[in-house]
Subunit: 141 residues, 4 copies
């Protein structure tokens, strides 16, 4: 009985992966690096389109690795993929949310993201959100 359940789960996972590949997502999991040297690692994308992974910031948080969660969405007709992910900076009281899309130039595919970082440091609430943009490219290793 247990054995069958296990096989069904395995088969489901395989079919899910085939589905992801068919949808052009096969190139998303892996390590992506931004212009500051921070690394976004997308470990997997499940059948609900949730991203599981981790983020290693090159700046501001001592090189620690933090878990991330997020979503992928795809428009069927155009094949355009949207992405969003967020990191809770444990011990810092802050959270960053990245939101973006995939695009390509002569150097290849990149992920263009805008982010909001909310930080508790300031006594003035209106000062607590900083913003900027990051371009992530797949690590060539």
């Amino acid at each position: 009985m247990r054995c069958y359940t296990f096989i069904i789960i395995l088969v489901s996972i395989s079919l899910m992966n085939l589905d992801l590949i068919a949808q052009g997502w096969e190139s998303i999991p892996g390590a992506w690096q931004n212009e500051l040297g921070s690394v976004l690692v997308i470990d997997s994308i499940n059948s609900d389109h949730q991203i599981m992974g981790k983020y290693k910031s090159s700046t501001g948080v001592d090189g620690q690795v933090f878990p991330l969660l997020g979503w992928i969405n795809e428009e069927k007709e155009s094949g355009r993929i949207s992405i969003a992910f967020s990191v809770r900076w444990d011990g810092y009281g802050s959270i960053t949310s990245w939101t973006g899309y995939f695009d390509a130039d002569e150097q290849g595919t990149f992920m263009k993201t805008l982010w909001h970082l909310v930080r508790p440091q300031s006594d003035l609430p209106w000062e607590r959100i900083i913003t900027n943009a990051s371009i992530f490219r797949k690590n060539q290793e």
Copy 2:
């Protein structure tokens, strides 16, 4: 054997809740409504500080309810709480990420958020991200 496991899980959940209450998060779960009538429902916050819940937009997506995921973070000294959550608009190809903090005025506590919405509609990548701000207040029911 199974019974013990069950009891251990139950006790863990209880302790986790106590912990959340001790940290001043008890008032976060529930329904929050923004100025457009959209409703954010935070069902629970787990021990990793992940938010589980759903979002019912009043505009643009036909009144459907979508799952959300996100994070809470708290700065110990100040008690300031940061929040971020995101919704994948299934069937629309888009994703919204909200990022913000808690503040209060004469009407009570509110959550001030900025959001980025990435949409696949435009052929021009630079047109794909829209932004705005929303204030969410706890539903009085």
Copy 3:
């Protein structure tokens, strides 16, 4: 000769004002206050649609008044008006740019703006831009 020039200028200014009134801009000049008590004063809008005015922040700059410059734009068919203005915080090294539109609720017309504030304080360039939203309402005086 000089007298004629003077008269022509006067008449031009009058016609310009008539034009502005005809386009529904008559209600824009004046003092607008945001939720933090900061006051935006729009002194005039010229025939190039440039805004001249001043800004008195309630927070962070000691109650000083700073000049602002900006633009108004109007879509003919819909009558929708877009606005943008910016303030150079002399002595602080920073600049804020507000961008927004006019909307109305049961309390009347308001200007919903998002802003970016660039500040030189941080050694890390990616930390230099903060963002938030402000709603300005006409002062009732």
Copy 4:
């Protein structure tokens, strides 16, 4: 009499330029191009630190040239320069505000900006502001 006035004006302009050079702004006027091929031309920066110039977008507005206005600010101690400028898209009902700072990498100095574009197209006010980031580099000509 008129001749003297003219000379005084000329001398003032020269002194102003000397002042700008002394403050490290000499490299700002000129043509800057972003990653999409749009060109920002800064014609001059006056003694109030206002920017005069024009903007030629590569996308969305048929290659027209539009006037821009903006500010430069400098923090004395660090020499860090903030910049903001905005363009009114005459005939489109929209306005873009860029806000940013100067930074450098192995390719030289660049201006990193975030922008908000307010557009009247949508019936839904919350959809009217789009955002993204642009990096401008000095044209090598």
